[in-house]
């Protein structure tokens, strides 16, 4: 078999066992890997609560991982989110995915709960659980340093150990499995860290075809101003978006009360380069290298992070924002949810936290100390406890990232149709509504957006299963990645068949969510976006979203998806229809 290893490591933490098992080939062909494989493997477990021991925590790489396919040294982590209650996946780069594949695995399936903290070492010579009591309570850097001898490391920090609902799993290189609190799921299992090493090579079925397809991908990367343009993400990282979002008047500010922050230039891409001496970093083998690190090697914040610790909390000090980012990384906290929860907290009490208080509150959250106990629940639960539920700027309890939905109506729709809650990456309409890729669409119009969002969700579910980086698709398309996949695996895939796989994955996720009580009532935005205008400027007016038009487009979306008016499946048992 080319592309896949066909192997899964089944780890039962309750029994303390590690066993390599076969994955049926037809499942790999039908779900590819990453998100798709993980979602499929959740079929018998999706009703379990996020902290029930039998709930699996799945790490899955894709068939392109281990080859020189651009941006494909990634994995998806899949489980059920304690923050949102939905099925949850997150794509992450770094080196760990590549090492996992080199260790001979397509997936890691972790279930049970260890009676004492452990870490898992993965190695073709033997997979073992080791005591980790001495690491429990340690920060991410210290843990990574302590386990470096075992290979590439992924670990939780104190936030995951303490059950913070938006705790991350951190990669040793600073990448994160973020947003939905899978760090808390890992912590609840008593699993501190996982290491992986191996020297296996992913076989390629047709090397000549692969080289040609890779050349096509790279040509499109070079043709993309967003990727390799002199103002693009290869140069400035995602903070390249700071100036653009300010100009477009859609940078969430002070808990989304406005959409323009006059001091955002302090943390723009050029400002970070100048102030922090930003240099290029990136995931293993990625030609884009969009991650940026300081001269001292400290990972620098992404766009969402600088906006949310900046504008969203009214903070203009770049160094304070960088510090908040580093603290989150060290404690194992999601930066978007942490900053957005602090912002909602700030609005609720009538004062946004200043830079010094942010640092204190982040530590309190990670250790669930003092006010951190409440904040560790995320903005939705926190705002409800404070009697101001309308101040949580979230969808399905997932805090919204740094694209105000009043400034991009496809984004507004995509936030609510996302199966993991208010996420920008499921359909990623910013690509066409703002960045004009593959073609521009009118950001202030709902026309056609239901179909566009549906298609993009399918595409991105496939991308997350390859597993490739979304940023690659600012240049390339499934045409080129389908060719890469065919060349690697020897199995023919094209854009349409990949979208079909993506649709299968998306509907499965939706079916799981509906099975856990989700319906149309959860597919909505916070009231603010329908009632309050954003900040006008540069000839741009940012109106409240027309709720009737929004609801109309959502119903169109349901029809396109084959769902009923309530966004559910009716009597249909989708799982009976799927491999």
């Amino acid at each position: 078999m080319f592309g896949w290893t066909g192997k899964l490591l089944h780890v039962d933490l309750t029994r303390g066992t590690c066993e390599r098992r076969e994955i049926p080939t037809e499942i790999l062909h039908a779900y590819l890997g990453g998100r798709g494989l993980g979602v499929r493997l959740m079929r018998d477990y999706f009703r379990l609560g996020p902290f029930e021991p039998d709930l699996p925590l799945i790490f899955a790489v894709g068939p392109l991982c281990g080859t020189s396919s651009p941006t494909a040294a990634r994995l998806s982590c899949v489980s059920r989110s304690p923050l949102t209650g939905t099925i949850y996946d997150c794509s992450a780069g770094g080196r760990f995915a590549w090492r996992l594949k080199a260790a001979g695995l397509d997936a890691l399936f972790i279930t049970g709960k260890s009676p004492a903290p452990v870490f898992l070492s993965i190695d073709p010579a033997g997979d073992h659980l080791h005591p980790a009591q001495s690491l429990w309570g340690k920060g991410v850097k210290e843990t990574v340093a302590a386990l470096g001898q075992y290979g590439s490391v992924t670990t939780i920090g104190p936030a995951g150990e303490n059950g913070v609902l938006f705790a991350n799993i951190m990669m040793g290189e600073g990448n994160s499995i973020g947003r939905g609190g899978l760090g808390a799921v890992m912590g609840a299992k008593g699993l501190k860290a996982i290491t992986a090493q191996g020297d296996g090579v992913t076989g390629v079925a047709d090397k000549e075809r692969f080289d040609a397809a890779r050349g096509d991908v790279m040509r499109l990367f070079r043709a993309s101003p967003v990727i390799f343009g002199e103002l693009g993400i290869a140069e400035y990282g995602t903070p390249a978006l700071v100036d653009l979002m300010a100009q477009r008047r859609m940078a969430p500010t002070e808990n989304f009360r406005s959409t323009f922050f006059a001091d955002s230039g302090n943390y723009s891409g050029p400002a970070i380069r100048k102030e922090c001496g930003a240099r290029k970093e990136g995931c293993y083998g990625c030609p884009i290298q969009c991650k940026k690190a300081s001269a001292a090697g400290e990972p620098l914040p992404e766009y969402e992070t600088v906006n949310h610790f900046g504008a969203l909390n009214g903070i203009s000090d770049l160094h304070a924002i960088v510090k908040a980012n580093s603290l989150c990384n060290e404690l194992g906290l999601d930066t978007i949810s942490a900053a957005a929860t602090l912002s909602a907290f700030g609005e609720a009490r009538g004062r946004f936290p200043d830079a010094a208080e942010v640092a204190t509150l982040l530590a309190d959250i990670a250790y669930r100390h003092d006010q951190g106990e409440l904040l560790s629940l995320g903005s939705r639960r926190m705002a409800e406890v404070l009697g101001k539920p309308e101040l949580s700027m979230s969808v399905k309890s997932l805090e919204l990232p740094a694209y105000d939905p009043r400034g991009a109506y496809g984004m507004a729709l995509a936030y609510v149709t996302s199966n993991r809650g208010g996420c920008h990456l499921r359909a990623y309409p910013i690509s066409h509504e703002i960045l004009r890729k593959p073609v521009p669409t009118d950001r202030f119009s709902f026309s056609g957006k239901a179909r566009i969002i549906k298609i993009a969700e399918d595409v991105n579910a496939a991308v997350d299963s390859l597993v490739a980086c979304k940023f690659a698709f600012f240049g390339a398309t499934l045409e080129e990645y389908g060719e890469l996949l065919s060349a690697v695996t020897g199995v023919e895939y094209g854009p349409e068949s990949l979208k079909g796989i993506g649709e299968r994955i998306y509907l499965t996720e939706r079916f799981y969510n509906c099975g856990n009580g989700f319906d149309r009532s959860h597919d909505t935005l916070p009231r603010r976006f329908f009632e309050e205008a954003g900040s006008a400027g540069e000839g741009i007016d940012v109106h409240p979203i027309d709720r009737a038009r929004f609801d109309e487009e959502l119903q169109k979306y349901y029809r396109i998806r084959g769902l009923d008016e309530d966004g559910r499946f009716g009597d249909r048992n989708l799982l009976d229809e799927l491999p």
Partner: protein, 389 residues
């Protein structure tokens, strides 16, 4: 979406790439709609309904070149592979369906082909192109296939001559009737562009429209810019040159802001040209004969370089205009064009298009592009006539 269908039907007519009675669109949101020539519309609808895409155009080209390419293709071949930049970068190849293979319902097989590529040639029917997320995208892909087949056919005829019954007559008709004299006459330009932002934007919008109207681009691509002090005003990526209002990015020369991340992929080339030539304005188009002639090289047989479009280090000459290799964006064009464009005011990029510059305003730039294209057109037919003789 009906307004979009109407708009892009109009564009296909305006650029004379499709026959008036042979254009159909299909689009789907929560319902499928079709419009245009009934038979083609039925095919478009039946095909799109099988695809996870938003729009599709099926149209009969005004020129028979796509059909000729299919007929000239060897038995067993299933696609054509034009060598121009548009094809290489975005289309890769263009699959075709032969007339003899069209029995019964063509929609399933068309959908299968369009499931892998953006456009398909159906012999005797026309070009069918899909738009993944917009009607405009379907139009762009149709236009790209039309452009690519135009370029490849002219190349092939020059090298191989006519091979099919009726081919030479059809080509003569193209030469005498379809082609129109190309000039800049009747167009107004501000000969000395001011430094004032609004005046610059207005002139860029106007010249962009001229560029499309005079057929100097495929679909509506290309790019255009002007420099004023420390700022470059440049058309955005994927912007219609004939609809540039609101689609021009002001980019600071010192990169102190990244607002221009949406600027044309050729921003770097424009910036370097300004730095090295002192020009005020730049226009970049894809005029067809220039693209054809740029790929004609008498050293090909003996040359060790095979990927000429990116690896050729030589500066060739077409009527005083230098021709260089280089892929788009960060792919090398930005290194090779700036050093050679200053002397002549124009440069051709292998298989891609033409850059021209102006020292004061767009009149000089536009006329230079017209001159380059006219030279290449005349040179093409001169060489063809020699070959025929």
């Amino acid at each position: 979406m009906r307004d979009q269908i109407s708009k892009y039907t109009g564009k296909l007519l305006a650029d004379r790439s499709a026959c008036a009675d042979g254009i159909a669109f299909a689009a789907q949101d929560d319902a499928l709609i079709t419009a245009g020539a009934p038979e083609l519309a039925a095919l478009a609808g039946a095909t799109l309904s099988r695809l996870n895409s938003l729009a599709l155009v099926a149209a009969r080209p005004t020129l028979p070149f796509a059909d000729f390419l299919v007929a000239r293709a060897g038995q067993g071949e299933e696609c054509i592979v034009p060598q121009d930049t548009e094809t290489r970068t975005f289309l890769h190849d263009i699959p075709f369906l032969r007339r003899k293979d069209l029995s019964g319902d063509a929609a399933p097989v068309l959908a299968r082909l369009l499931g892998n590529r953006k456009g398909v040639i159906v012999e005797g029917v026309g070009i069918v192109a899909v738009g993944a997320i917009t009607v405009e995208q379907a139009f762009i892909n149709y236009s790209s296939v039309f452009h690519s087949t135009f370029v490849k056919y002219l190349q092939d005829v020059l090298v191989e001559g006519f091979r099919l019954p009726g081919e030479e007559e059809a080509f003569d008709s193209f030469r005498r009737e379809w082609l129109r004299p190309l000039s800049a006459s009747g167009l107004d330009f501000v000969e000395a562009l001011s430094l004032e932002k609004e005046a610059i934007l207005a002139e860029i919008e106007r010249v962009g429209r001229y560029t499309v109207e005079r057929g100097l681009v495929d679909s509506f691509f290309g790019n255009i810019s002007a420099v004023a002090g420390e700022r470059i005003y440049i058309s955005q990526t994927a912007a219609s040159l004939d609809e540039l209002k609101g689609c021009i990015d002001p980019v600071p020369a010192d990169n102190s802001s990244t607002t221009g991340i949406t600027a044309s992929s050729e921003l770097l080339a424009h910036r370097k040209i300004y730095e090295q030539t002192g020009a005020r304005v730049i226009l970049h188009g894809h005029p067809k004969f220039s693209v054809v002639m740029s790929m004609l090289c008498d050293k090909k047989k003996d040359c060790a370089i095979k990927d000429c479009w990116k690896d050729c280090p030589h500066v060739r000459d077409l009527g005083g205009t230098p021709v260089v290799a280089g892929e788009i964006g960060a792919g090398g064009l930005a290194k090779r064009v700036p050093p050679v464009i200053g002397a002549s005011g124009s440069a051709i990029v292998y298989g891609h298009g033409v850059f021209t510059l102006g020292r004061a305003g767009f009149g000089e730039t536009f006329r230079a592009m017209v001159d380059v294209e006219n030279f290449c057109r005349e040179e093409y037919f001169r060489q063809l006539d020699i070959t025929k003789a």
